[in-house]
């Protein structure tokens, strides 16, 4: 069920985010240039796999959370709300994987 999916992706994201945060804190020294970024990520199967998985987890985790917020704060529930959140998930997946491709290929 949705709750299990959200907690499972949460656990996975805890690891991904920890890595991402640590990387950003270490790597962003007075700003970051495209060359610096792409120098690390271009052609890297490791980063592609890591960020590919990261994006997938986010695309599952975030819409489930947004669905709850929509139900509780906007009082929007039912098939329409579920469909909208699913679409958001698909969009995040598409944009996210496109971004991963952009920096690793």
């Amino acid at each position: 069920m949705l709750w299990i999916a959200q907690r499972a992706t949460a656990a996975l994201l805890a690891l991904c985010v920890a890595v991402h945060l640590a990387t950003m804190i270490v790597v962003v020294r007075g700003g970051l240039t495209a060359t610096e970024i792409l120098g690390r990520t271009r052609g890297s199967v490791g980063w592609a796999a890591f960020y590919g998985l990261f994006v997938l987890a986010v695309a599952v985790h975030a819409p489930i959370g947004l669905r709850t917020v929509a139900g509780e704060w906007l009082q929007w529930r039912g098939r329409g709300a579920d469909a909208c959140c699913a679409i958001i998930g698909v969009l995040m997946l598409a944009l996210g994987w496109r971004a991963v491709a952009a920096v690793t290929i």
Binding site: R7, A14, L21, M24, I25, A34, G65, V69, R98, A102
Partner: protein, 117 residues
């Protein structure tokens, strides 16, 4: 006038849940922008550099620090929730978990901010 102007907002766990929700919403809103920005690299490094040059503004840098804080807060708050739900901490050890979560989030934001300049 409503009789229920009540004050349930007086204990730390309440604010933790609100912070967790707000940070989640803001992060979800920010993420597409992040993906689009990185996607500019599809047109080559110069295009990404062009975007990064745009981000060289004080308000953008401030927002980046805020975003790091939000991400760290959402992460630490989420870990606390996972502990409470799966390990079953009773009464959440007098808010110690919350203090740890808050401290870790602040540390991340500070570390990022200091590295930025």
């Amino acid at each position: 006038m409503s009789p229920t102007t009540w004050r349930g907002r007086d204990h730390p766990a309440y604010w933790a849940s609100i912070v967790h929700r707000i940070s989640g919403i803001l992060l979800a809103l920010f993420l597409p922008l992040h993906f689009l920005a990185l996607g500019t690299a599809l047109s080559g490094a110069a295009s990404l550099d062009g975007f990064l040059a745009w981000t060289d503004r004080p308000w953008v840098k401030a927002s980046e620090i805020a975003l790091v804080a939000l991400l760290a807060a959402h992460l630490t708050g989420g870990l606390r929730l996972l502990l409470v739900e799966f390990v079953g901490w009773r009464r959440e050890s007098q808010g110690m978990l919350l203090a740890v979560a808050g401290g870790a989030a602040a540390f991340c934001a500070l570390a990022f901010a200091l590295n930025l300049f």
